[in-house]
């Protein structure tokens, strides 16, 4: 029978994971907000139409295209970059949890978290 982690350890882990999560989410929100302001300043008066699916242009579908558009100052590109950061937050959440379990020397859950992380990365990469 192994001894379980102490409550203090668990609490410290929770604080660290919680803070990192908050930072990532706020960064994503700020980037999306900045892109959104640019987008609305330029297109706020036009009439949106999403009735027919055309799909996004190729440059807004992949990482390199999105980064290129964002740095070119495109509002839509910057929003999409913020969304990429948002999608990265659950991935980071799993990675942080793995690190946190490692600090607790909880080998079982380091393996569990790493397994989840690899499954997640595998399906993200398609």
């Amino acid at each position: 029978m192994t001894t379980g982690p102490t409550r203090e350890q668990d609490t410290r882990v929770q604080q660290a994971v919680g803070n990192l999560l908050r930072a990532g989410v706020l960064l994503a929100a700020l980037v999306v907000l900045a892109g959104g302001v640019l987008f609305l300043l330029r297109h706020g008066g036009s009439v949106p139409d999403y009735r027919v699916f055309r799909g996004e242009p190729m440059d807004l579908r992949g990482f390199t295209g999105i980064v290129r558009d964002a740095f070119a100052g495109s509002g839509r590109g910057i929003i999409q970059l913020g969304l990429l950061i948002l999608v990265a937050t659950p991935v980071a959440r799993v990675a942080f949890t793995a690190v946190a379990f490692a600090f607790e020397r909880d080998r079982t859950y380091v393996l569990v978290a790493l397994l989840v992380l690899s499954l997640l990365l595998k399906s993200l990469a398609g």
Binding site: G35, G45, L86, V87, L119, L120, G126
Partner: protein, 279 residues
């Protein structure tokens, strides 16, 4: 309606989605999808892309608070996430084989029954007095959560049953392209006997991970439109942060009612979509 008014309206609806989604552990897709398709007549594929973003935003917006306060059971979440992701990968590969419409209707009916089950009150403090479940003990799943009367310990039961149901939740979400928050909460609450607030917070932690797993596919297929996703993401994030502040004080019996009400809505939505062959 111009883009400015359109964005403001969607942001307001998304705020409600994030608020309800974070309190119930269900994500916000169940509000975002019908608002976009029924009110704004958006194509279902744009709505699915925006709904996926709303699920991740709800999850991430509330996760920080829930993890810090100690509602989220990280071990239960991680362990069950394996079952969900493996199930989701299988489900996505079965899309061409299974009649998604029929399954959607059946799942809708299952949710209506589940809504009834969750409203039955359960004495949550009693599980701490039960003998420890050997498997849950070995996996160190038993934990405690904050209550206004101080931290309260709880025991986790029926780990294999919960694991199996989580796998099914993953298969369904991969197959039907829906968030699987409802099955996640039900598995933890009804099968594993976790306290309700721990179930919703842990589901909230997990749904973002499950949704992120399919985000790559939807992005590559051009489903994620920045003009739609921007108000959805910002509204949902704000709503889920506000919702997360309320969980500590919320009465469990009321949360159960809220959860039951929302899954009745989701169930009806699914029966409607399944019968019409949309979404």
């Amino acid at each position: 309606m111009n883009t400015l008014a359109f964005s403001a309206t969607i942001a307001a609806a998304s705020f409600c989605a994030g608020f309800l989604g974070s309190l119930t552990g269900l994500g916000g897709g169940f509000i975002v999808t019908p608002v976009l398709t029924l009110v704004f007549a958006a194509d279902i594929r744009y709505a699915i892309g925006a709904s996926l973003i709303s699920i991740i935003a709800t999850s991430s917006g509330a996760a920080a608070a829930y993890v810090k306060e100690g509602f989220t059971n990280l071990r239960v979440g991680m362990l069950l996430e394996i079952a969900t992701v493996v199930g989701a990968l299988l489900g996505a590969s079965l899309v061409a084989v299974f009649p998604a419409r029929t399954i959607t209707v059946i799942f809708g009916l299952v949710l209506l029954v589940s809504a009834y089950l969750t409203t039955r009150p359960r004495a949550e403090h009693l599980t701490a007095a039960l003998p420890p479940d050997p498997l849950a003990g070995r996996l160190r799943l038993d934990s405690e959560y904050p209550t206004p009367d101080g931290p309260r310990r709880y025991r986790v039961r029926h780990v294999p049953g919960g694991f199996a149901l989580m796998w099914l939740a993953g298969v369904l979400s991969g197959l039907l392209g829906i968030g699987s928050g409802a099955v996640k909460v039900l598995a933890m609450d009804q099968v594993m006997y976790l306290p309700f607030k721990v179930s919703t917070a842990t589901s909230n932690f997990m749904i973002g991970v499950t949704a992120a797993a399919s985000a790559g596919v939807y992005l590559r297929h051009g489903y994620v439109d920045p003009g739609l996703a921007m108000p959805v993401m910002l509204g949902v994030l704000a709503g889920s942060m506000v919702g997360a502040r309320l969980l500590f004080k919320a009465q469990t019996a009321r949360l159960r009612l809220l959860f039951a009400g929302v899954i009745v809505l989701i169930g009806l939505e699914m029966i409607y979509h399944g019968a019409l062959g949309r979404g």
